[in-house]
């Protein structure tokens, strides 16, 4: 939001922008490194317009978040400027909330995800008694990870934040209709998440549906008490909805057509809706939802290929379809996919492929960009080879745990998809190390590669060194690789952010040091059960400034010395 605001300002003042750029550098340098500036620094600050100053501060914050603190401490004017500048608040404790809101009256985003416990009183006192003269400017509040507040706390939000547009109340397992009725008083809400509100019933949903007519995004995931009546009312009253998550609710065919007829609905998530069956899918009118682009019906256990076939005629503009763990994939069902010519993403995880099902995908879904076949049974070499030879546009492929495929498919795959961005083939154990070298040779655009539990060796890694764009590499349980192979990766993949070396027993500190030196952008590394790893690796990894996830389970030679680094 802060970025968006600054963009707007930049558009308004194109000329000042350059000035700000030049200023910002000098200022940020001078200010961030001089906690106690000379009094002479104050006058130039006063002459700066707020917008310019905020641009400066944006850049300062971008470079080093801690610099803002020292800036605020510089002088009263700096302090005031910083108070007005700050947009996002993320307090650590709820009892700091009143002080924080008083200090930063212009804050628009309040993220309470670090406060595990937010009592009603804290919310009420912060929002009501705080800056009582002017209503809070808050537009977004995130309470998704907080507990301890009830309807009274929620009730404090709506009247004090008239501009509230984004409210995340996920995981409010104790919140029910009364809280929903209070949420409904925030008329301007655009985005709302009520996920896991277990006591919520149709009454609460009805209140929200009537009260928040501007809603664009709504999540009712795991709201088990919500039934068709509430959802029907929602479909009737909130006509502007674009995203709707009804996962694990009790929606049935009574309200399913009403939902799909929402004129602006783009994304519909129906994970695990056991009330959706072939009847419900068949009850849709032809082309009833032209706006729907993303449909997720994974784990809807009661639908079959027949229902899916009959439903596809209703959603002609679909881009993404997720049918994971739903129904067996039959050729007839796949052929009906021709009715959605724009389909880009097809996820069929955990499905059982009938004979010729995969071949039909090759012939029917030519425009596919992304295909997920992970954990599917019935994927064979011949069918996969046929399919990949037809899917010219494919960029991402997931064949995790397709245990029947061999070098044959991999050869066809690598020769067809030279532009592949993502390839996941964990546990494809029948593919040999020689075939894995083909990946490196042909698919040099790869950004994401998962070869966990494969026959990969150092030669394969050497070939992968050609994939200089690689961002994520998972090569856990590849027992054949050694430091030498990892050195190739460390040298040639500077963009690497995420590497998984789980149980790579052949690795030692040298390989890790190579990675740490060659990949400065590293954010996450998994070294669990790499038993040879010592404190030296950790010391070298401490140079990677962006590292935020480090997993070193089962590394007996790591000591507190390494950890302290």
């Amino acid at each position: 939001m802060a970025a968006a605001a600054s963009h707007q300002q930049q558009h308004r003042h194109p000329k000042r922008r350059r000035l700000a750029l030049s200023l910002s550098l000098s200022l940020s340098l001078s200010l961030s490194f001089s906690p106690s500036p000379a009094p002479a620094a104050a006058p130039p600050l006063d002459t700066l317009a707020d917008e310019l100053l905020f641009l400066v501060l944006d850049r300062v914050a971008q470079a080093d978040p801690r610099a803002l603190k020292s800036f605020a401490l510089a002088s009263r004017a700096c302090h005031a400027a910083e108070s007005r500048h700050r947009r996002t608040l993320r307090p650590l404790r709820a009892d700091l909330l009143p002080a924080a809101l008083a200090r930063y009256p212009c804050a628009t985003h309040l993220d309470l995800s670090l406060c595990a416990r937010v009592p009603d009183a804290a919310l009420a006192s912060a929002l009501v008694s705080g800056p009582s003269s002017c209503p809070s400017a808050l537009r977004a509040v995130d309470l998704s990870r907080s507990r301890g507040f009830g309807a009274a706390g929620v009730a404090a939000l709506a009247p004090s934040c008239p501009g509230l547009a984004d409210l995340d109340l996920s995981n409010g397992v104790d919140l029910g209709d009364a809280a929903a009725a209070e949420v409904a008083r925030a008329k301007g809400l655009r985005r709302l998440s009520l996920a896991r509100w277990k006591p919520l019933t149709d009454m609460g949903v009805g209140c929200v549906a009537v009260g928040c007519a501007e809603l664009r995004e709504l999540s009712l995931k795991w709201c088990l008490g919500v039934s068709d009546l509430g959802i029907q009312l929602l479909a009737l009253k909130c006509r502007k909805l674009t995203r709707l998550d009804l996962s694990y609710t009790m929606i049935t065919k009574d309200s399913f057509p009403a939902i799909t007829k929402l004129p602006n609905l783009q994304q519909l998530t129906l994970v695990g809706c056991i009330g959706i069956d072939d009847d419900a899918l068949g009850s849709l009118d032809k082309e009833c939802s032209k706006s729907l682009q993303v449909l997720d019906m994974s784990q809807c256990q009661n639908i079959t290929d027949v229902g899916v076939s009959s439903m596809l005629k209703s959603v002609p503009n679909l881009l993404e379809l997720d049918l994971s763990y739903c129904c067996p994939v039959t050729p007839s069902m796949v052929r009906s996919l021709q009715k959605i010519p724009k389909l880009r993403t097809l996820k069929l995880e955990g499905c059982k492929f009938m004979t010729d099902g995969l071949k039909a995908i090759g012939t029917s879904c030519v425009s596919l960009r992304e295909l997920s076949l992970s954990k599917c049974s019935g994927v064979t070499d011949t069918e996969l080879s046929f399919a990949v030879s037809r899917l010219k546009n494919l960029l991402k492929l997931d064949i995790t745990c397709c245990r029947n495929i061999t070098d044959v498919s991999l050869a066809a795959l690598t020769s067809s998809f030279t532009s592949l961005i993502s390839l996941r083939m964990e546990s494809c154990s029948r593919v040999s190390s020689g075939a894995l070298q083909l990946i490196g040779k042909h698919c040099s655009h790869l950004e994401e590669l998962d070869l966990t539990d494969s026959d990969l060796d150092d030669e394969g890694l050497k070939a992968l060194a050609r994939c200089s764009e690689l961002l994520g590499l998972k090569i856990g349980i590849c027992l054949k690789i050694s430091d030498e192979g990892l050195t190739h990766i460390g040298r040639s993949c500077p963009k690497l952010r995420d590497i998984d070396l789980y149980r790579c027993g052949g690795l030692s500190d040298d390989g890790i040091i190579q990675i740490a030196q060659g990949c400065p952008m590293l954010e996450s590394i998994n070294l669990s059960y790499c038993t040879e790893i010592t404190d030296r690796s950790l010391i070298s990894l401490s140079k990677c400034a962006k590292l935020n996830t480090l997993e070193i389970r089962g590394c007996p030679r790591v000591s507190s010395i390494g950890l302290s680094k």
Binding site: A124, S125, A156, A178, A181, D202, G206, G211, L229, Q232
Partner: protein, 477 residues
């Protein structure tokens, strides 16, 4: 009672004898003198002494008796003319034959009237059915008057000796068959139509689309008082009434060891004769009701319980009022309890104030009207409506309505309509809480209550006692 019955029967027998042995010009003066004594006294005296608590109507009884008197006078006149003419024109057999049916019909009507009058009295003696044949009354009257016998709801067939007594011709047999079918109607007062009516009735029974063919069941009709009688089983010793025979048997144990034997305590076996008896069906005594056998599309009631429930529901005053909604009324306590189970609890409210019994109805309403919202039941808004007050005062403000409510109950007990007042109080609850100003509430509360609002000392905890005092004062005044 015993006497009167005897008189009636003797009288009828006598009449019949006169009629058929018309050559015997019996002086009618004696009978004429006999009538007045038995018409009123037994009915006036015996009910008042025997069953002072019963709800029979002396006025209607008197009407009935005067009617009977009138009738008897008519018949006597006819017969006198017959006697006279027989004396003058020695046996004009043709004329006699002409008049005979008229007399028959009149007598039939008389008997019917008498029995129905007596019958309406009998159940009020809380021990017998009016349907039990007069002969039974005649013979077992001691039992009937004493609180000994249980309710005998089914009609008894005419005993042979009674028929002999009356020397009844076929017309009378038909009439008694009508009785056994429960065909006696107080409303039937037209002299000559009774027999026709009977025929028509038979025809009706034939027409109605019953699952049982008309002849295949025995049609009974209980009298109103009998239906409304609170007890159907009575102790022969102390007269206490019971709803169930099992309870009576349990009660009997207290009257002696002979009632404690397993045989006495066992459930009486069904009569062997009951098995080959016809299935019984019942008619509602209220004329014009579909369950009444005179109705064109008559549908009989299956059991006595059905009769009771039907009669109470359809033809009795609904005296039980729902204590929640104060609008629904019922004549059967069970119905009230069933209703109270649902009344109020699943009220689905809309923000506009309309309430619905079903959720889907509410949602259809909300869907139809712009701006209407489903409203939560009042308890929940109450807890969350004080959100605007300070969180610190949260505890107090939630406690306040309770104490206020109770004090209010006290105060209002002097008024005439508690419920309404309390409702009004609930209505202003939210306002009160939002102001969080106890003093102002106190003021607004006083006048609304109708009290001359004594200025409270500002201490809130004082309020209930003050109101109590004022209520007491009011009571003293």
């Amino acid at each position: 009672m015993d006497l009167s019955q005897n008189h009636i029967h003797n009288q009828f027998a006598a009449n019949l004898y006169y009629q058929f042995g018309s050559d015997n010009p019996f002086p009618s003066m004696g009978t004429q003198q006999q009538f007045p004594p038995f018409t009123s006294p037994p009915f006036d005296a015996s009910p008042s002494t025997n069953i002072p608590h019963m709800d029979w109507n002396p006025a209607t009884m008197l009407d009935n008796l005067t009617f009977i008197e009138e009738k008897i006078r008519q018949v006597k006149d006819v017969i006198r003319t017959m006697v006279d003419s027989g004396g003058q024109l020695s046996c004009h057999q043709g004329e006699l034959a002409q008049k005979q049916p008229v007399v028959n019909a009149d007598l039939t009507c008389l008997i019917v009237q008498l029995i129905s009058t007596a019958g309406s009295l009998l159940p009020s003696l809380k021990n017998s059915s009016f349907l039990s044949h007069p002969a039974a009354g005649h013979m077992d009257m001691a039992n009937h008057v004493g609180p000994s016998s249980g309710l005998v709801p089914n009609a008894m067939t005419v005993s042979e000796e009674n028929k002999e007594d009356m020397c009844s011709p076929e017309d009378y047999e038909e009439l008694f068959k009508g009785w056994t079918d429960g065909a006696i109607e107080e409303g039937i007062e037209i002299d000559n139509v009774l027999v026709e009516e009977q025929d028509m009735k038979d025809g009706d029974e034939g027409i109605d689309g019953e699952n049982l063919p008309p002849g295949s069941y025995e049609l009974l009709q209980l009298e109103k008082d009998e239906i409304l009688a609170p007890h159907t089983h009575f102790c022969s010793i102390c007269g206490k009434g019971f709803k169930r025979d099992a309870n009576l048997r349990m009660h009997m144990r207290g009257h002696g060891d002979e009632y404690k034997s397993p045989a006495a305590l066992a459930k009486p076996p069904r009569d062997a004769s009951a098995e080959h008896e016809l299935v019984k069906r019942y008619s509602c005594p209220s004329v014009g009701c579909k369950r009444n056998k005179l109705h064109k599309n008559f549908q009989p009631l299956k059991t006595i319980l059905c009769v009771k429930n039907h009669y109470k529901r359809s033809h009795c005053e609904k005296s039980y009022t729902c204590s929640r909604c104060h609008t629904k009324k019922f004549s059967i306590m069970a119905d009230l309890k069933t209703h109270e189970k649902h009344c109020g609890r699943d009220k689905w409210l809309c923000s506009c104030g309309t309430s619905f019994s079903r959720k889907d109805k509410l949602f259809a309403h909300v869907a139809l009207f712009q701006g209407h919202t489903p409203a939560l039941p009042p308890e929940e808004p109450k807890t969350c409506s004080d959100q605007s007050s300070h969180a610190g005062s949260h505890q107090e403000s939630t406690k306040v309505p309770n104490s206020m409510g109770s004090s209010f109950m006290w105060g209002a007990s002097s008024g005439d309509n508690n419920a309404l007042d309390i409702k009004g109080f609930d209505g202003c609850n939210d306002d009160f809480l939002s102001t969080a100003n106890f003093g102002s509430f106190n003021l607004s509360f006083g006048p609304a209550d109708g009290f001359t609002g004594e200025p409270s000392g500002g201490s809130f905890s004082m309020l209930p006692s003050e109101h109590f005092q004022s209520a007491q004062k009011k009571g003293q005044n």
